[in-house]
Symmetry: C2
DNA sequence: CATTTGTTGTTCTGTTTTTCACAAAAACAT
DNA sequence: ATGTTTTTGTGAAAAACAGAACAACAAATG
């Protein structure tokens, strides 16, 4: 069974929705595939194909209706509003995310943060911070499904287990430990260290006057072979 | 010209390197493809394929030599040591990243943070925080190539322009504004809001007793067609 | 009313990336 | 020595993904 809503597509749809919300608030009523493409950094043809796949039609010369598109994307993606999440580990990253303003028009509410020593966190945080001992109970009574994991590396696997035991269905993992999706719990890893290293590599590679890959094994044999055949 | 070192491959290589460093510090000398695959969450065959592509050989029954692999990965990826980065926007996210401990054995040094009002930042931060007015000069005299952008949404594009004007070659962008890579400046976007929305979608989708995609346009026509042809 | 213009919808094709499957080689055991 | 096990290395198949091209159509124009 091939899945129609592949991973990249879903991300694009979420981005379209955000852009549409912005455009709407600016008073626009319609939008063209190249506007959306520019906004999220993909080719206009891909935008049209995405909507075509979902049978979201536009008008042959008038582009797409923003209200219609928004509604339909909400139908497909779920309104994802009033969803509650918790944050485990209220260190720097955890509390930063707790106060993150970039959520799509307040879709999510951080129901609580958890930490080994909640008392020590005196910097004003708008969400209640509870001790880890209350984690499982809170998750189950509040029916929390999604958690953000932002604890130190050495307790990551232990916290992961606790979250799974408590019945969490999805974890956004900011620790450098690569957790793995299981049947009952979907993991998305964000490894900031790797992201920075990766960016550095790309920059250095693009800055060099020669091709980095020239240092890699020779592919010119293939060409030689091809030449020999002619 | 097809590039051998594609984006996903580079990320895997960076992850291999991290795992190898850990294994080495634990006293291991060799490692098998399935160990590495487990550690970074990919199939063992892919690990072998990666190394095969780079002509990094293992031993038919003894796995791969950790020291050798580390050296070779360092050669290919660059040692990426003593590189300096700056952080623009020392709000919650910015200062969290400034103090991020997950960097690969201290590869990177945060040379400075920049903010509109550096004085107001009284929470103890180990790196110097300078006013935006000094941004361009600092970048040029210190020869900074990579920056992390963590400012509020409404000034993101302006800061982006300032960074490009100052000659920055790579930006890790934490704002919800999707910036685009240009000839001179590589952008990697990390949109935390979208990541959370995406995770929610996947969780809801997996939780439903029926197939979400059933609500989407019918593909059974294809089957009907195929049947009709037989 | 005819013509031009602009934009969508979709097919077809091409590329890149991953998985499968198994031969080959090395280590180990008997 | 001989056989058995384990793990690599890789060619071929499969899947995922994107891009180019262009027909179809609606709107605008004169």
């Amino acid at each position: 069974m091939k899945s129609k809503l592949n991973k990249e597509l879903v991300i694009r749809l979420l981005k379209y929705r955000r852009i549409l919300t912005q455009l709407k608030s600016l008073g626009f009523e319609k939008v063209f595939s190249n506007n959306l493409g520019d906004a999220i950094g993909v080719a206009p043809a891909l935008v049209r194909k995405d909507f075509s796949l979902l049978v979201l039609g536009g008008n042959k010369r008038g582009g797409y209706n923003i209200d219609y598109l928004s509604e339909q994307l909400n139908r497909i993606l779920g309104k994802s509003r009033e969803q509650k999440i918790i944050i485990v580990g209220m260190g720097k990253i955890g509390s930063a995310v707790a106060q993150y303003k970039g959520f799509h028009q307040g879709d999510f509410e951080v129901a609580a943060g958890f930490d080994i020593s909640p008392e020590s966190l005196l910097h004003k945080i708008e969400v209640p911070v509870l001790p880890m001992s209350q984690l499982k109970d809170f998750i189950q009574t509040q029916q929390i499904e999604v958690a953000i994991l932002a604890v130190p590396e050495d307790v990551a696997t232990d916290c992961h287990r606790q979250l799974k035991d408590a019945g969490i269905r999805g974890i956004l993992n900011f620790t450098p430990i690569e957790l793995k999706t299981t049947e009952n719990c979907i993991i998305h890893n964000i490894n900031i260290g790797v992201e920075i290293e990766n960016l550095f590599f790309q920059v250095v590679k693009s800055s060099l006057p020669f091709d980095v890959e020239a240092a890699l094994p020779d592919l010119s044999d293939e060409d030689a072979l091809a030449d020999a055949e002619t």
